[in-house]
């Protein structure tokens, strides 16, 4: 019996050595290759993956000695964020280039996970991009990423139905309600206005557009002001869309982008708030709404200005990358005018460079892109704060509770205010 115990003891003592031995073996393997191998992590790329891979092959041809491996993360943005924070907090060098949602940059920069790439973006170069995305990639006056493609909330409407009933696209939320009410009374089975109301990040994008278009804010001088009268009024209006005006069906409270896009794309809704990607799908051959869809800036409350939430993705370099120079080359390539143009023409990714919105090929093929230029110019980033991911975890359930009628808008926003104060209190 005693011998067995000794044997176990010896084994336990040797275990670390065994593990170390394996780890070293691995290291030698990677050190042996001479070519620079870049790993590029990103979410799902829309459309045919071959188009995107062809771009990466082009890059390899222009840069002999560099191989690019691209690895796709789960399509849920929250899961991508979680992947990055856990791996980067662990100083992982397993990937070199990462694509980031517009809301992550201040957090990642503050945590010291991103390579400062200000030298790639002199002032003159920064001026070639839309101001919103540029603001989002800048933290404390340093640039940490390059905007890759951009997005902003827009209003889709059915041109044909509005025309039939003698209406024009609404400029204010109240006009939208009146128009939708009048039309759906005459067109049974048609939804008035659909948007994204599930408890997730997209809900924040929707709600902020009402806050901003009523003059409200979430943070002012890095302090929460979320329970302002403007915001309470805006949130109450959203609840009223569901219950008082009844132009928004209850299914919206569980809907994300795609379900709403399907409903509108099947001709079952008059108005929809969504991202511009939907337009390319509506205009495809065989689409029931082809040629019948219009795009307009989102309405505002009377006397206030319309506002869209900025979306889109940015490319940055992992601070722990072993090949930062090669990684910089890759992000410069992917954000170059040529590649942005190709991505816009093939898979509908909207360029972050303003000049492309005057590009003759693009304007001819996607005429509505000129209208998007003005919307992107005014798109607003969500509160730029390293604590944004914690703040949104607070806002999502509170907004959801207000839409579901579990809390009044005032109660929900007061609760959010209290929790955000607590989160930001960590800096005291």
């Amino acid at each position: 019996m005693a011998r067995g115990a000794i044997g176990t003891g010896v084994f336990l003592l040797l275990l670390p050595l065994l593990i170390l031995g394996c780890a070293q073996g691995e290291k030698q393997d990677t050190g042996a290759s001479e070519r620079v191998r870049l790993v590029f992590k990103h979410g799902r790329i829309a459309g045919d993956p071959r188009l995107f891979h062809q771009l990466l092959r082009d890059f390899e041809q222009q840069n002999p000695g560099i191989t690019v491996v691209d690895e796709t993360l789960p399509s849920s943005t929250d899961e991508q964020h979680q992947f990055y924070i856990i791996n980067l907090e662990g100083s992982s060098a397993d990937f070199d280039v990462l694509s980031m949602d517009v809301i992550w940059i201040p957090e990642f920069a503050r945590a010291g996970w991103l390579r400062d790439i200000s030298h790639l973006m002199p002032l003159q170069e920064r001026g070639k991009f839309f101001p919103g995305p540029m603001q989002a990639v800048t933290y404390r006056d340093r640039v940490y990423a390059i905007p890759w493609y951009t997005d902003a909330g827009v209003l889709f409407y059915r041109k044909d139905i509005l025309k039939k009933h003698g209406f024009s696209p609404p400029k204010t939320w109240q006009e939208l309600v009146a128009t939708a009410r009048a039309v759906i009374d005459k067109e049974p089975g048609l939804y008035g206005f659909i948007w994204q109301g599930k408890q997730y990040e997209g809900l924040i994008c929707n709600v902020l557009e009402y806050f901003w278009s009523n003059g409200g804010e979430v943070l002012k001088n890095e302090l929460p002001v979320i329970n302002s009268p403007e915001n309470i009024e805006a949130l109450r209006f959203m609840r009223d869309l569901l219950v008082t005006y009844s132009i928004t069906p209850p299914l919206v409270t569980t809907a994300i982008e795609e379900p709403t896009r399907h409903i509108f794309g099947n001709g079952r809704a008059l108005f929809m708030r969504n991202w511009p990607y939907a337009w390319n799908i509506f205009e495809q051959e065989g689409s029931p709404v082809r040629g019948r869809v219009g795009v307009a800036p989102l309405p505002s409350f009377p006397g206030k200005t319309s506002a869209s939430t900025l979306g889109g993705w940015q490319l940055g370099v992992n601070r722990y990358s072993r090949n930062p120079e090669a990684a910089e080359k890759l992000i410069l390539f992917l954000t170059s005018p040529t590649v942005q143009k190709t991505l816009a023409r093939t898979i509908g990714y909207k360029p972050t460079r303003t000049s492309l919105y005057r590009d003759q090929d693009l304007v001819r093929e996607q005429p509505f892109i000129t209208g998007l230029h003005d919307i992107f110019m005014q798109a607003r980033p969500r509160p730029v704060s390293p604590y944004y991911m914690m703040i949104t975890q607070v806002m999502q359930p509170e907004f959801s509770a207000a839409l579901a009628g579990i809390k009044t808008p005032e109660e929900a926003l007061n609760a959010a205010q209290k929790q955000i104060e607590h989160i930001l209190g960590v800096e005291r």
Binding site: K198, L403, E427
Partner: protein
């Protein structure tokens, strides 16, 4: 060297291992819960009981506790009643008994995440089979009225077989002579069940209850996949809340505070049950 001594020495490695994998993490979570700690920004401050004081005022915590209690109570009671009925049925002799028994076990055999995804589709408002069969248009997972009940229902579907199998094993141990004797004495089926079967089954029922209550109280995977805690946090359980704080935002201080509270609750439930169990076997 006496047998006693060598016995102690033999359990020492096991005890050390236990200390390493349970006692150390528990103490470290307790320690973390007294800090305001944000790993990613290298912020770590000792704040004493501040996290616990915030927890007492945290509506989201009380909401999660309420959801967890509701989920635990209803799922465990329903599973016990249904499981007992199924166990009684399967305990009889009939044709294809082995086949039926295997079929009953299927829900329990499917991995939780898979069955949660399955139910997510069945609950779907537009395309779900449930609304199709009922001819209804209920937003099962989106309405605050239904979502938590939908999660309970799924858990009952999944876990009743487990309860039934355990109780069936218990039933098989009860000698048939006892119920036969009772019948000869003039007892009806209901009397036999109430006065003979149930008392003899009590220890097994308590074991089932301990398992199920603790599992239900810590429920995470099924609800997380089904609803992610929504709508409006009406299905957010304590484990989901703790997970979001700990791993989605890496707030290790407050996340640990929540974990300590879950730990205390689970501990209290266990103590109550173990007391009941020792009373029952005496």
């Amino acid at each position: 060297m006496t047998n006693r001594d060598s016995g102690q020495r033999f359990v020492t490695p096991a005890l050390l291992l236990l200390a390493l994998v349970t006692v150390y993490p528990v103490l470290s979570v307790l320690y973390l819960s007294l800090h305001r700690k944000l790993l990613i920004f290298d912020i770590s401050r000792f704040v004493g009981l501040e996290n616990y004081l915030f927890l007492v005022r945290d509506d989201r915590f009380w909401n999660a506790l309420g959801n967890t209690a509701y989920f635990t109570l209803f799922s465990v009671v329903l599973e016990l009643v249904l499981g007992l009925s199924i166990a009684m049925l399967l305990h009889r002799e009939f044709r294809f008994k082995g086949f039926v028994r295997a079929v009953v076990l299927i829900p329990w055999a499917i991995p939780t995440v898979v069955s949660a995804k399955m139910w997510e589709w069945m609950y779907n408002t537009d395309f779900g089979i449930l609304n199709y069969l009922l001819g209804a248009e209920v937003n099962w997972l989106g309405s605050p009225l239904w979502a938590l009940n939908a999660a309970v229902f799924m858990d009952v579907w999944k876990t009743t077989p487990f309860v039934a199998i355990l109780l069936m094993a218990g039933l098989q141990v009860i000698p048939r002579e006892l119920s036969q004797a009772a019948r000869i004495d003039g007892a009806g089926s209901w009397d036999v069940f109430r006065k003979v079967t149930l008392p003899l089954l009590k220890p097994v029922i308590l074991v089932v209850l301990i398992f199920r209550t603790l599992d239900a109280f810590r429920v995470f995977d099924s609800v997380y996949v089904l609803t992610g805690g929504g709508p409006a946090n009406t299905t957010e359980t304590l484990s989901i809340y703790a997970y979001k704080v700990l791993f989605q935002t890496l707030q290790f201080g407050y996340g640990s505070t929540l974990s300590v509270v879950v730990f205390l609750c689970v501990g209290m439930i266990s103590v109550v049950y173990i007391k009941l169990l020792s009373k029952g076997t005496k």
